[in-house]
Amino acid sequence: MANNNKRKMYLRLITRSLIRRASRLITAVLAIAIGATILSGLVTIYYDIPEQLGREFRSYGANLIIMPSGENGINENDINRVKNLIGREKIVGFAPYRYQTIKINEQPFLLAGTDLEQVKNNSPFWYIEGDWQNVMIGREVAEVLNLNLGDDFKIQGVKFGGQAEASNQNYSAEENKTRDFGSQYFSEKLNVKGIITTGGAEEGFIFADMKILNDLIEDNFKADVIECSIIANASELENLTQQISKAMPNLEPRAVRRLTQSQDIVLGKLEALVLLVTVIVLIITMISVYTTMTAMVAERKKEIALKKALGAENRLVMSELLGEGILLGFVGGALGVFLGYEFALRVSLNVFGRGINFQWALIPVTIIVFIAITVIASIMPVRKVMEIHPAIILKGE
């Protein structure tokens, strides 16, 4: 009961002191809240940058290539297992490719059967004239065959398991043509829906849905390569390739290091910058709290002297001032968490064009950090209490 009364009085003292001296409270809380806002905002961004930038980097193409280790292609079961190993939530794009040599006007081309939607996820930077849909041709193919959007073109090729025969100069053109239409061959008219410009090898390909290709060659799903775009840094990607190799020896995964390493370099630099700014903000907040507490002790010399005259031990008076500091740290820190989230959200929306996840753990962490900062910054000013002599300060005038 006695302790309870003392505790109540202690709380009464520190809350009354802050509430009834509102102007001082506002100044001090603002100083702490600004620090806490920047800190919690930066930490929120710091935690979200890898994901945000990871997604940005995913716009630069696949970062994991998976090929079969043997002659057999990759079947649908393999694909499902790979997706599970990677973790579906980390997959930005997952495009299996099956390549088939075809002929157009007796000229050989490569037809890539794939999932065009996933190709788009992997390579959003491709410039497409027309639409992302069946069938798309590379700019180079369009120029060679003089094809434009909406034009039809005929492809011919050998069905799966069939034997291709080269045109023979001993046969007439008519005979060669007849042989191309035998039961081992396919022929289909396609329509140009999109023309791809990438500045890369893709411009020499014809892209169609995997199902169209499989139907033409009369074979089940089988991929020659899978291009994946995964949210992961270099080491995570390295671990993943090892994991896939181990679990599925029939596959040969390869990380595209060029992309992941530059991603890690940029992230590392950004994180270091955020860390540096955070440390500077913490120091500035500490200086600000130190100044505020020094002013607080100086302007309350009479009050402190009176308390000592009434019989308060130094440690008790110091604990009251520190209690006020803790309360200020708590209020400023709590305010800063939410303002910081708002700050991080705005930064994220402006820079990355995306929202940001609220880090719940930041609530206790920021509050504790700012209470600690306030206490540390208050120690020196509060120790001045020991130098205050009631007889000198309270003497009559």
Binding site: R20, L306, A312, G396
Partner: protein, 232 residues
């Protein structure tokens, strides 16, 4: 049996002797006024009696204990337990209400008890103003809160440094009446004052000059007459 004894007490600041070989004995229940011109050593003496300072030489015996060589921490404890302080400037904490100001002394002494604090305010006629802030109280009311605070822990000596120095005549009389009542209840009162009328109310008056007691006047014959007559 004296509650307070000063034996050959001197306080020296460099070449200045603020108190010079003072000998004084105050019995329990006495009412003593200390008077003298500025710089005569009144405040130094009250600081030493109030355990806020220590003498350079000599002994101060408070309630049978020599406090002249005590540490700051022990002096704080002794002051908390045995002395009630009243200040000229009242020194109330401006963000605490009247009752909270009284409870503050309880808090540092033992344990705060709002009911007791309200009773102390009632004794000085301020129960109705218990939940007002100092800024909402007149000077006289503030001084009465200060007296209630000084009395709340039942100190052995009530020590006032110019307790009426900032009050008008009317409030001065109210405060002196409170002292008079406290004295009749057996409280030992030591008051430093410039005001001859307040000084004359006490049972005994000492006059200081250049750190020495130059007069020690027994006023028991006229005790209580000053101010009472004026107020009548």
């Amino acid at each position: 049996m004296p509650i307070l004894e000063l034996k050959n007490v001197s306080k020296i600041y460099g070449s200045l002797k603020a108190l010079n070989d003072i000998n004084l004995s105050v019995n329990a229940g006495d009412w003593l006024s200390i008077m003298g011109p500025s710089g005569s050593g009144k405040t130094t003496m009250i600081n030493i009696i109030g355990c806020m300072d220590t003498p350079s030489t000599g002994n101060v015996i408070l309630d049978g204990v020599d406090i002249s060589k005590e540490s700051q921490s022990n002096l704080t404890r002794i002051r908390r337990d045995k002395i009630g302080l009243i200040f000229q400037q009242f020194h109330l904490i401006n963000y605490l209400t009247a009752v909270e100001n009284v409870m503050l002394a309880q808090y540092y002494h033992s344990m705060p008890d709002e009911q007791e604090a309200l009773e102390a305010l009632e004794k000085v006629g301020l129960k109705e103003r218990a939940y007002h802030l100092p800024s909402q109280l007149s000077g006289g009311e503030q001084q009465r809160v200060c007296i209630a605070r000084a009395l709340i822990n039942s100190p052995q000596i009530l020590l006032g440094d110019e307790p009426t120095g900032n009050l008008d005549e009317e409030n001065e009389k109210v405060v002196v009446d409170i002292f008079r009542r406290l004295h009749s209840e057996g409280v030992t009162i030591i008051i430093v004052t410039h005001d001859p009328e307040v000084g004359d109310v006490a049972q005994r008056k000492i006059i200081l000059e250049h750190g020495r007691v130059i007069q020690d006047i027994d006023q028991r014959a006229t005790f209580g007459e000053a101010l009472k007559l004026k107020g009548a």
